[in-house]
């Protein structure tokens, strides 16, 4: 597979708002079922262990015309739920037998209820990820929640998870996380070789296909970039913070990178990188998943930060780890978790002398001129003065 072939595949999957890859998998596997999940984190291992195909629902993006979705949401609510409802009301999600709604924010929480009312025949579950400061208490609660979820998924799929299916699911997602870490490392170290546009589309495509298909493409892509040293270029290195749920349009990602910045870390599709260590494949798989979540997740706006210095420190640590020159706070309009977190994160960055810039977007934003000017000026100011 050439890099171009891999990217052609990824762009096709990314742009396909009919989820053809998932539908094809279902057609090829009679009797099997698919379970959707919303941002930011769902335990995909459980879905796979119960014999179902996990499918990430990250909104309709820039290509979906909203016809019915706007009738469900007021103007002061972010765009994501209206495009997700649009996908559902236009029957593009009709292949899903279950949908999981993680506790990312109250919009997604309440969307679970909208789903219950609109589609009573579909299995709907709100996933209340454990919050708090005691990892032991959180792990125990999460284990019980996961066990209940698993039992339900097994009923929906008609395929009880086995020790073997569980080990396979955990090991396969460990590999996927490891490959994504490698992709991010490659971009961080040599961003001229790994444009974020490509990295993003590849990872996003991976959310809607069987994970082994993603692994195959992602490993192919890594091999290709190893072969291609690329032309070293000098741009301002930025991390993009706040776009963990509603995803920015691809045009915005391209705009940032074409206006003199390299994105060297980001929050896009953060569920893939939420767990910071591998999940053990030995012993009780549900317990292992629970402990992995309760014990080691990245710091993000949707998870309580018990350490009073933690927020400020997290931003400076991220900047240091990415050897970044500055931070772009990019939040979806009306995104509570991102926008409520921004003052603390920004204060942490500014106190450390890190240049920052903030803007808002919607997944269907189509005019990028203003962003180009803003990020271009930001990149220039970093280059000229080392600060905005």
């Amino acid at each position: 597979m050439t890099r171009k072939e891999i990217l052609d595949w990824a762009f096709e999957v990314y742009e396909d708002i009919d989820f053809t890859a998932a539908r094809t998998w279902l057609a090829d596997h009679p009797g099997r079922k698919a379970a959707g999940y919303l941002p930011v984190y769902a335990p995909r291992e459980l879905i796979r262990a119960a014999g179902m195909l996990p499918v990430g629902i990250h909104g309709g993006g820039e290509n979906l015309e909203i016809i019915k979705g706007d009738a469900f949401y007021q103007s002061y609510i972010c765009h994501l739920p209206r495009s997700v409802i649009e996908l559902a009301q236009s029957r593009r999600l009709s292949f899903l037998s279950a949908v999981l709604f993680p506790s990312t924010c109250d919009v997604i929480r309440n969307l679970s209820g909208v789903w219950q009312l609109l589609y009573p025949e579909i299995y709907v579950r709100y996933l209340d990820l454990p919050q708090g400061s005691d990892p032991e208490i959180r792990a125990q609660f999460w284990k019980q929640e996961l066990a209940a979820l698993l039992a339900d998924l097994e009923e929906v799929s008609g395929r009880p998870a086995t020790a073997e299916s569980f080990r396979d699911a955990i090991a396969t997602y460990n590999r996927a996380r490891s490959v994504i870490r490698d992709l991010y490392r490659a971009r961080r170290e040599t961003p001229w070789r790994v444009p974020t546009e490509e990295l993003y589309v590849l990872v996003r495509a991976g959310e809607t296909v069987p994970v082994e298909v993603f692994l195959d493409k992602a490993l192919g892509y890594l091999a290709e970039i190893e072969r291609d040293a690329g032309r070293v270029r000098d741009k301002s290195r930025v991390i993009v913070v706040g776009a963990f749920c509603e995803q920015p349009p691809l045009g915005l990602i391209k705009t940032i990178e074409r206006s003199g910045c390299f994105i060297v870390d980001d929050d896009f599709l953060i569920g893939n990188r939420l767990l910071t260590s591998d999940v053990s494949t030995q012993g009780d798989p549900v317990e292992n998943l629970a402990r992995a979540f309760a014990g080691s997740t990245v710091k993000t706006s949707t998870i309580y930060e018990p350490d009073s210095e933690g927020k400020r420190r997290s931003i400076t640590e991220r900047v240091a780890a990415a050897k970044a020159d500055g931070v772009l706070f990019a939040s979806a309009s009306f995104c509570d978790p991102a926008l409520l977190d921004r003052p603390l994160l920004e204060a942490g960055a500014r106190a450390a002398g890190i240049p920052c810039m903030a803007f808002k977007f919607a997944e269907n934003t189509s005019q990028f001129q203003q962003f180009r000017e803003q990020t271009g000026t930001f990149a220039d100011s970093i280059k000229l003065w080392g600060g905005a």
Binding site: G113, G132, D134, S333, L340
Partner: protein, 438 residues
């Protein structure tokens, strides 16, 4: 939504809407509470900040600490015309215009010296008790306040009733957090040990007050209704939602209130409103969503001028859904607190909220149903259009949808609201004239 006039002071609980004894009692209780808070740095009384939904006032008080509810400060600031300045200060400090205006009002008040709504200074918290019940913003709010106050924070995660109920495992999880995290944290900051007998006494007083409150709220089943269960209920639920659940003053307040309402019902009199006593009631409404606080009286008048009385509301259940049977149970102190937190209105699933509204419309003989959607609050607002449709479908009663905000006057457009309400009332008239069932 269009911009409104600059914010002016609009109403206070003692503005003459009612001369009832309960109102006087409430005023005295609040005044005394804020005075104690002001002198807490001298008296050494510990102070615990917490939120209205899922507030564990009985537990806090059993440790001899005084509760502060930031939402109450925000709404009171708005009623006294102070919120706009606070919000502006917070936005200048980098807080987004998109987020909950309660948070910005609170942050702005803090930056302006933390002078509370009654003009007395609020003390710093000794503990932030982050009862994470029914609202994502709570988590961010106290992360922000912790930064400002540098005090300890203890977190209580109350699982959402996504499937319409609290499971045994979820209940055990909440109890465990109360036992292993909250109680030790309260003991540390207050220097007292856990006194279960005192807690039980508080819980027993809570249950008595809850009985009286439910009798008050359910009096609206009568025609005419002796209360307004939305605007008027804001005052009725004030003590039980804030610092006074489980206190002797709280219990006395609810006894007095119930007596007044029962007297009014016996006289077939309506509630006092900004348009005067509302004895002749033309429309009986159920309302979903919180009120606007910046123009509270003006907003209420849009209803009372049309002789519309609210007979049931969901907002009056954010601090507890007592009218569906829950009472604090002194025989099971930790379990009952877990049950209380789990059952607060914004912790209920959308189907459960729809069921509650449907129930209110039928039980209280309502002929109209209104959603007041506020920009600030995703917990309430996201999904309200679905709620509207579903309730209309189930009851056959057409609803109305109006929008403004809690404490940000920029989103209160009196003309738009008035027009919308007038057309709605006309539509209800037309339905009546056509003999449609109500």
């Amino acid at each position: 939504m269009a911009s409104a006039d600059p914010q002016k002071p609009r109403v206070s609980p003692d503005d003459g809407s009612s001369k009832d004894r309960s109102m006087q009692l409430q005023k005295e209780m609040l005044g005394e509470h804020y005075r104690r808070l002001e002198s807490a740095p001298e008296t050494g009384e510990p102070v615990v900040y917490t939120f209205v939904p899922g507030n564990l006032t009985e537990l806090i008080r059993s440790f001899g600490a005084l509760p502060v509810l930031p939402e109450i400060n925000a709404l009171q600031s708005a009623m006294r015309g102070k919120s706009q300045g606070y919000i502006a200060a917070a936005e200048r400090a980098g807080h987004s215009e998109d987020v909950c205006s309660y948070v910005k009002c609170d942050v702005g008040m803090l930056k302006a010296g933390n002078v509370g709504p009654t003009g007395t200074r609020l003390p710093k918290p000794d503990l932030l008790l982050l009862s994470y019940t029914g609202c994502f913003t709570f988590m961010k709010w106290f992360e922000l306040l912790r930064e400002e106050y540098g005090c300890p924070t203890v977190f209580l995660h109350v699982p959402y009733q996504g499937d319409g109920r609290q499971t045994a495992e979820q209940r055990a999880y909440v109890i465990r957090q109360i036992r292993e995290e909250l109680i030790p944290a309260l003991a540390r900051v207050t220097g007292r040990s856990y006194d279960e007998d005192r807690l039980r006494e508080n819980l027993a007083r809570s249950a008595a007050a809850e009985n009286d409150l439910v009798a008050v709220l359910q009096s609206a089943r009568k025609t005419p209704s002796p209360i307004d269960a939305y605007f008027g209920a804001v005052y009725y639920v004030g003590p039980i939602f804030s610092a006074f659940r489980g206190t002797p003053e709280g219990a006395a307040y609810y006894r007095a209130l119930r007596q007044e309402v029962e007297d009014r019902a016996a006289r077939r009199a309506g509630p006092m409103t900004p348009s005067g006593p509302l004895d002749r009631q033309k429309y009986r409404l159920v309302v979903e969503g919180p009120p606007n606080w910046t123009h509270f009286r003006e907003f209420w008048r849009m209803f009372s001028d049309e002789a519309a009385v609210v007979v049931a509301s969901t907002y009056s259940k954010v601090g507890g859904t007592y009218d569906f049977g829950f009472r604090h149970d002194a025989s099971d102190p930790l379990g009952t607190m877990a049950d209380y937190c789990s059952g607060c209105y914004t912790n209920l699933s959308l189907p459960a909220r729809v069921g509650m509204l449907e129930n209110y419309i039928r039980d209280y003989g309502a002929d109209g149903f209104l959603v007041h959607s506020v920009k600030s609050c995703n917990s309430f607002s996201a999904g309200q259009l679905m709620i509207l449709r579903e309730v209309e479908k189930r009851t056959g009663i057409p609803g109305a949808f109006i929008e403004s905000d809690l404490v940000d006057a920029r989103y209160f457009s009196a003309a738009n609201l008035k027009n919308r309400l007038e057309s709605y009332f006309q539509m209800l008239d037309a339905r009546r004239a056509s003999g449609a069932p109500s």
